[in-house]
Symmetry: C2
Subunit: 321 residues, 2 copies
Amino acid sequence: MGARAVDVPALVDSARAGTPRAVARLVSLVEDAHPALREVMAALVPHAGRAWVIGLTGAPGVGKSTSTSLLISAFRGRGLRVGVLAVDPSSPFSGGALLGDRIRMQDRPHDPGVYIRSLATRGHLGGLSAATPQAIRVLDAAGFDVVLVETVGVGQSEVEIAGLADTSVVLLAPGMGDGIQAAKAGILEIGDVFVVNKADHPGAEATVHDLRRMVSLAERAAPGGWRPPVVRTAALQRVGLDRLMQALDKHRAHLDETGELCRRRERRAADEIEQLALERLRTRLEAVEGQDGLGALSAALAAGRIDPYAAVDVLLAHADR
Amino acid sequence: MGARAVDVPALVDSARAGTPRAVARLVSLVEDAHPALREVMAALVPHAGRAWVIGLTGAPGVGKSTSTSLLISAFRGRGLRVGVLAVDPSSPFSGGALLGDRIRMQDRPHDPGVYIRSLATRGHLGGLSAATPQAIRVLDAAGFDVVLVETVGVGQSEVEIAGLADTSVVLLAPGMGDGIQAAKAGILEIGDVFVVNKADHPGAEATVHDLRRMVSLAERAAPGGWRPPVVRTAALQRVGLDRLMQALDKHRAHLDETGELCRRRERRAADEIEQLALERLRTRLEAVEGQDGLGALSAALAAGRIDPYAAVDVLLAHADR
């Protein structure tokens, strides 16, 4: 099944013509790390690089999906096509994204200018880090003007992914011990725009204040760059959307004026290449068999008969040929 | 500074004699991926393998730290020494664990039978996956009978780490949309014991019910193995600790009787070896310079002049020599 033949040129043409099923099929090939992916990416690369990639990160419950929904409306109002990738921490065992987000976000079934898709990583050894830039490329090359990437933003890998967007939006909500949690997960450092959602809830003012203080402390340490704005919204009540859009536009202008857009995209490309290379090397490591293979070495390490670095020496000596 | 000389044999002796400062120094060497780590691990391996490694995973706010605190008391009551590792998603930019958990958990400063430490990953390219098994080995070899590993359990990498414990405890709390969130993060599949904490809150009964249903569905799919119990606690009120300890003991007996303990430890060892090997390979990739280096290749990919797989071919051709 994994090796089912794929007519790549036809599929790519069809996706570029705006057929949702073709886009969906391409994202599935990414998820599965399908053998045809190499040909797919080669076909897409020349058409990519036009979309504005916006990352949305925040802990469960801060209102990411509602905010995403609002942003879709706002960009649609400008006549732009919007693609959304909901990046789920994939189950390491069952290997699938569950239905939650998919169901909640599919409330625009009839608008061909919007495509929403959750992303799992069934095939990629490198997990989300390998799959996400490729899935972004699919939507980008398919002609979506804006690609919104929604991540949970608590784990390290999700934070890294969010950091690879052109513009990273970090969502917080009052209460929830967000301050420390946010800082721990590193999302403070990746935020280009901070949103304090649920601004009608108690404690919103304090959260905004804390964030502004942290942003200004960071700026004192590294002056002259972009100073991330802190925007208040109440997404459920559709409040604050104009302020958020202004902040996004301002950051987009900053990216263009300073050459930062280019730098970020090169960083994203570097990450993608490195993840794919490591994936290939990992396959080589796992293919080593017998006494010098991972199975025998890990049994020896668990039994205290070898140290982990000596085991790596043995394994690499074989994997290198 | 990274290359500061370390008297490894003295440090290891001192850690094994129970000196907290020596243990702390060894964990710091792990965090920094210090050059002396190779010697450190070789010295520790023969003394490791005695501790019972228990993972505690759950989203922020479910009461992990309070539960950890209770477990410490219970194991101390049995006269056992307890080491705790709080695995923080490290900030990818500032590279440090913040103070939150450290402060909250340091409420037993005078008990030499307890050692609590948060773990960051400043030096390891492989992040938490590379550092955690090594930090566990430090506490194990230093003579702690039980090592509790606390992880946030939302991101993929944290879930993977929790899955490497001898016994994985998954904490949930009523409400919070835990059901879907838990399943998405894959923590349902790794739980050996489920704890519904805050059992005095509304919705606790429903959460317990949902979990039991999911556990029994999973058992129908793979019968004959361990059936994860679902335990109710109210950690703040110190309710349910006896039930939790019983469940843990039962799982421990299961591990010993079935040989599963050995299998899990070999899996942990395999993961450690693989992470260290990939780390070394990554260093090689990043050392390639010039036209065939990661910088030039990622610029070409971002500009649409090369596809990612072709870039990997070029990079690996050089990294392999």
